[in-house]
Amino acid sequence: MKPSVTEINKLNPDSRREFLKNLLSGATTATVLMVYGPRILARPGADTRFWKEKSTEREWAYVIDINKCIGCGSCVRACKQENNVPATVFRTWVERYVITDEGVYVDSPDGALEGFEEVNAEIRDHAKTAFFVPKMCNHCAEPPCVQACPVGATFKSPEGFVLNDETHCLGCGYCVQACPYGARFINPEKHVSDKCTWCYHRVQNGKLPACVEACPNKARLFGDLKDPESEVARIFLEDKWMILKDMMHTEPYCFYIGLRREVL
């Protein structure tokens, strides 16, 4: 005859208690290991979060004033010559927005390398307002491209520059897709990812980025937020800046003045 469950429990009265005890102790051990395990295994002093490494000396910021941009493209040409950027790709470019009563017209012929021609008469007749928006890498505090890079070729430098190591990059293009600002591209000559460096080589040698240097109307500014004398710090005092794609939580360090909602 088959023994019933009650009979089994009578034969071995501790089995259920034992089982529950083991379950509880197992779960507790697993939880403790999951919480403290990585901390025990980690290298002493190491912190995988790059922003912990951030230098406290300076906080670089870039400011673009839409009201001052004349769309001449001097910045685009200067960037190309400074960084030897191939003709078909752009580290920085200028977009033209024409707000018409029928919608928004946006263009950027050749990234504004040769400036702009006037829009055609049909658009011009319907235009309500129009302006230029220079674009570039936003050097985010929380850069999605750095998260996306599978090999650690793109990274945030201690000074806050988002940079790319072309000797380490595979050219997989994940960062190009990850960037919400379209600021990255695959260099057609080197076949690796390429991007604006805020002219790291110039800034580290005491100069301004080439685009800032070239801008004839001071629409582009670059400076240290921690230096109260700097122009960018003064703009922060006025508190009129805006950022692109705030909802992406990338915390960009390119700040815009006079940005319209059509651009956001």
Partner: protein, 202 residues
């Protein structure tokens, strides 16, 4: 006949694992750059490599280091002081007096010299001149790239207009530079009555 150990499959597995692990360690030591930053996860020497890149653009300060005597910034600062003008008169590289005066007024002072004259790297290496910093494009398109009339430009920015009195009887091919000095466009246009300034020398 040799007796096969009952644990031989474990030994074989052990050997495979040791080979695999050794191979992994060797390949990894080659693949990970020496200066790898384990905290921020990048090759530390990248920063050094980037810092070494050549500076193609020098900025206006670099022009000043050789062309102190015609340094526009300097001239503007000392504007009106006759001594300054006397001191540097002979050194000023610009031939005609009209031009020199125009440089002193200097409406285009916010422009980068290299935007028109080309990047420093094509002109000088250290203190030595390696090429002329001449403006390749002196056509009207060079002016219009900034001053052409566009609806998207700020309204207070000076833009070419045919409504200006002197612009009304212009021929199609008239060079802007015939009346406007590129360093000081407004001043020169007012000075120009007999149309013989820069235009004839181009």
């Amino acid at each position: 006949m040799n007796k096969i150990s009952p644990r031989s499959h474990l030994y074989q597995l052990g050997i495979v694992l040791v080979v695999f692990f050794t191979g992994f360690v060797v390949i990894r030591s080659y693949a990970v750059p020496a200066s790898w930053n384990y905290n921020a996860w990048y090759r530390g020497d990248t920063l050094k490599d980037l810092k070494k890149l050549p500076l193609n653009y020098g900025g206006n300060e670099s022009c000043k280091s050789c062309h102190e005597e015609v340094s526009l910034v300097e001239v503007v600062e000392n504007q009106g002081e006759e001594e300054f003008v006397d001191e540097f008169e002979d050194e000023i590289e610009v031939e005609n007096d009209e031009h020199t005066e125009a440089v002193m007024e200097f409406e285009h002072k916010s422009l980068n010299c290299e935007s028109c004259h080309g990047p420093l790297i094509t002109h000088a290496k250290g203190d030595e001149k390696i090429g002329d910093a001449i403006v390749m494009d002196k056509s009207n398109s060079q002016c219009m790239i900034c001053h052409g009339q566009l609806i998207s430009r700020p309204v207070d920015f000076p833009q070419f207009s045919e409504d200006v009195e002197k612009h009304k009887d212009l021929e199609e091919q008239t060079l802007c530079m015939k009346c406007h000095d590129p360093h000081d466009p407004i001043e020169e246009a007012e000075l120009d009555e007999d149309e013989e300034l820069l235009g004839d020398e181009l």
